[in-house]
């Protein structure tokens, strides 16, 4: 049964994904939840919590209020906190019980905004999807409120999809900016590490977007649809970065979206290596393995991602059983350390920590993915 995990963990959920996406932007995120969502997020999914005072709260929903619909308390509590703390925006997130009871978040956002004058928007979550969906929905909701139309700024780019959930190590956005610079672009906004809300509000002026994780795809599509900004999907790992830089320049020139990582692997030959996890980084590593080492590789993606991120030989899977099936026949598996119990006997397991999977268990061995070199990784 694909719903069960006998021994491996689950990925970060959508609410945590939304919180992580909005963490650095000076807003206030309120999760309408009894308990748990906040401690889960800040304990396991947020590397910045101890040092940075981001305003992320739960409402402490009670059984009685959930049944009787005491929305006034929710509004009053949010408004009171907003008046005390003066955030740039307020984002409300849903959780399973208000989802079941059908809480009208759009209306609550209007009431809050009217009462305190601070932009308030709803991030579509319910605790039942993974962080890719939550972060993606958060950034699209933010973009709808804050991204302003503007004249195209030649030679500029957005970086989309940066959270510690995928980057793991603090400061990983700096080498990403350097890569974009070497490709010939100035980074206008990085969604959402190391940029301000004001930086993000200028995203529609960029010439091209670089989507470095699946979380960034939704807002990339939004920018493409709303402002015609083409996007390129890939992560600049050694061996693949030159191809990605070429794609960025080509997309800027032609206005066409490109998926060099997704189409850059899956060539002829029997698949002998599998990369398990976030599909953009995994596909970029697979492309590097194929280009640099001639290895036929497959991405095994246990996350909810759209088809455009899945290559011809890749597998989108569900649960522990799905991953086990997709790994059959491969000789090398590159995956987080906590996948070890389900990597088959005699199969080589190359551990690559992923914050969105193993949380704090991988902190001590975390690597900045921008430093990954496929030859060293598979040596």
């Amino acid at each position: 049964m694909r719903r069960t995990n006998r021994i491996i963990p689950t990925y970060t959920g959508d609410v945590s994904g939304a919180c992580s996406a909005l963490f650095e932007l000076g807003g206030m995120v309120v999760i309408h939840d009894p308990s748990g969502c906040n401690s889960t997020y800040n304990t396991h999914d947020e590397t910045r919590w101890y040092d940075h005072d981001s305003l992320i709260f739960i409402t402490g929903l009670t059984e009685r209020d959930a049944i009787l619909g005491n929305d006034d308390k929710l509004v009053d509590d949010v408004v009171e906190a907003a008046r005390q703390l003066r955030p740039r925006f307020i984002a409300l997130c849903n959780s399973p019980i208000p989802f079941i009871s059908g809480t009208d978040f759009a209306a609550i956002c209007r009431l809050v905004e009217r009462a305190c004058g601070i932009p308030c928007f709803y991030v579509r979550t319910n605790g039942m999807h993974d962080y890719v969906t939550g972060a993606g929905n958060a950034w699209v909701a933010l973009a709808r409120r804050f991204v302003r139309p503007g004249a195209r700024c030649e030679g500029t780019a957005n970086i989309l999809g940066a959270t510690p959930l995928d980057l793991g190590v603090a400061g990983s956005e700096v080498p990403l900016r350097a890569f974009v610079g070497e490709a010939g672009f100035h980074t206008l906004s990085c969604w959402a590490m190391g940029s301000t809300l004001d930086d993000l509000s200028r995203a529609a002026e960029a010439q091209v977007s670089l989507v470095i994780s699946a979380s960034g795809l939704s807002v990339a599509r939004w920018l493409y649809e709303q402002a015609g900004i083409p996007y390129v999907v890939g992560f600049p790992v050694a061996g693949f970065a030159p191809m990605l830089a070429d794609s960025l320049r080509r997309a800027a020139r032609t206005g066409r979206c490109l998926w060099p990582a997704t189409v850059g692997h899956g060539g002829p030959g029997e698949v002998c290596c599998a990369f398990v996890g976030e599909p953009v980084l995994s596909a970029s590593l697979a492309a590097a393995a194929e280009r640099e080492m001639g290895l036929a590789a497959r991405v095994v993606c246990p996350l909810e991602v759209p088809d455009e991120l899945v290559g011809a030989v890749d597998r989108c899977v569900e649960g522990e059983e799905g991953v086990e099936e997709a790994l059959r026949g491969v000789r090398t598996v590159v995956a987080d350390e906590l996948y070890a119990p389900i990597v088959g006997e005699g199969v080589r397991h190359v551990a690559l920590p992923h914050q969105a999977f193993s949380g704090r268990n991988g902190w001590r061995t975390a690597v900045d993915p921008t430093t990954l070199d496929i030859r060293k990784l598979l040596a």
Binding site: T4, G13, I56, G60, P96, N126, H129, L338, G359
Partner: protein, 435 residues
């Protein structure tokens, strides 16, 4: 000069009732040493835990197990949105648990199942699920736990688990020489008064912490007397004692000499034990506290409610022995401490009583004019000190020995610096931590 207080703190002298703070939005300070339901469930030897919930709710518990290095005793069943819209939550719950059990290398003797708020709100008939499971797996004890934090007014999951985890203890002949301590995360210290009192009368004290196997754990049912010392554990201990027809003594950890003496006299009276010399015990505590006071000097102190269920009693003890207690962190007053609050109103009106989860505290300055000494992880975080007693939920303290040990820990904290950033973020103090 008195510090200016924010909206989430009040001076003891200004309180008018035990309801100190209204319910508002909450944040979560990064001090995680207290045990959660995963840690507590792991106390049952050889038990396997299965959680059935949505992805976001699963994350905290599944990684708790991973951080303990206990993934092999934890499994999960993930609920999807369509289970709610199509009404298949019951079916997925049953099939998921069944699937996990079939995939385990060996069938465990005990499975602790945690359905969640979703099951509660959808009215999923968990009784029917358990009946079906018990038919299919007759050699397994299914423990009926919940992870339903929304049920705040009825029974919090922690308290319920401390009851149901003892449901597998079955009626049997009592051993009047055996006393079993239930409901606490930590075993009582080796030198704790209770062990000494019982030993003096030829009796033994055991707890779940002494049991390596499920059979040993089931053997706790032979106790002639059950005792509990942790407030959230008393309900379960009482229920277990009633079910098995045994005596139960609730002896909450305390810092009041009078209360401790009364508890120890009660133990001696109920169990027919020799009464010790309490004057000597009181004097030994005074001596330990005087030594600690000398080690601490005039350093101001902060105490938090997660360090011990009696933070006001602890503050009072320290104040009465000349310590400069300035801050107490607590979100609510333990009903057992209303007299202590009343005492502080009169005798220590300037002490700050501060919440720990209210929104303005997220951005409150975490530095003091001079470094403080904190008792508890949250107090350490809020005051930004590296001198702190790293203890949660009362640790192993009890009785006069507990007072002496607390005094020793305070003196020790005064003389050593600890890395709060490394220590207090670790979950489940006392459990293995792989991070």
């Amino acid at each position: 000069m008195l510090r200016r207080l924010g909206p989430s703190a009040v001076r003891a002298g200004e309180t008018s009732s035990p309801a100190l703070f209204a319910s508002r939005l909450e944040f979560n300070p990064p001090a995680h040493g207290t045990w959660n339901i995963v840690h507590i469930g792991m106390l049952v030897p050889q038990a396997h835990q299965i959680y059935v919930c949505a992805l976001n709710c699963m994350r905290g518990v599944v990684l708790t197990a991973a951080e303990m290095g206990a993934q092999d005793r934890f499994s999960c069943v993930v609920l999807h949105e369509e289970d709610i819209t199509r009404g298949t939550v019951e079916q997925v719950t049953l099939e998921g648990i069944r699937d996990v059990l079939r995939k385990l290398p060996e069938l465990p003797p005990c499975v602790i199942v945690f359905p969640v708020c979703t099951h509660l709100f959808l009215g999923v008939p968990m009784g029917r699920v358990y009946r079906q499971l018990e038919e299919e797996f007759p050699r397994v004890d299914f423990v009926r736990a919940w992870m339903d934090p929304i049920s705040k007014r009825r029974m919090i999951p922690d308290k319920r688990l401390r009851k149901v985890m003892y449901d597998p203890l079955r009626p049997c002949d009592p051993d009047e020489g055996l006393v079993v301590h239930l409901g606490s995360d930590h075993a009582l210290a080796d030198d704790c008064d209770l062990r000494g009192l019982l030993a003096a009368g030829g009796m033994r004290l055991r707890s779940i912490h002494d049991c390596a196997t499920y059979d040993e754990y089931r053997g706790l049912a032979h106790a002639g007397t059950f005792v509990s010392t942790y407030p959230n554990g008393s309900y379960g201990a009482q229920a277990c004692a009633e079910r098995l027809g045994r005596r139960h003594l609730y002896l909450p950890g305390s810092f009041s000499y009078d209360e401790i003496e009364a508890q120890e006299r009660q133990v001696c009276s109920e169990l027919g034990l020799p009464v010790p010399d309490f004057a000597t015990r009181r004097a030994s505590c005074d001596k330990a506290l005087a030594d600690a006071r000398e080690a601490v000097g005039d350093t101001p102190l902060a105490v938090d409610a997660l360090a011990h269920p009696r933070p006001l009693g602890l503050a009072r003890l320290l104040l009465e022995h000349g310590f400069d207690v300035r801050e107490v962190y607590l979100d609510a007053v333990n009903p057992e401490e209303e007299d202590e609050l009343s005492w502080m109103r009169t005798h220590a009106p300037e002490v700050e009583l501060s919440a720990t989860v209210l929104p303005d505290l997220r951005v409150a300055p975490r530095v003091r004019e001079r470094e403080m000494l904190a008792i508890g992880q949250r107090a350490a975080w809020f005051t930004g000190t590296s001198h702190f007693v790293n203890i949660v939920q009362g640790g192993s303290l009890w009785g006069f020995a507990g007072v002496r040990e607390m005094a020793r820990l305070v003196a020790e904290a005064a003389g050593c610096e600890r890395d709060a950033r490394d220590l207090i973020v670790r979950k489940g103090l006392g459990c293995e931590s792989c991070i």
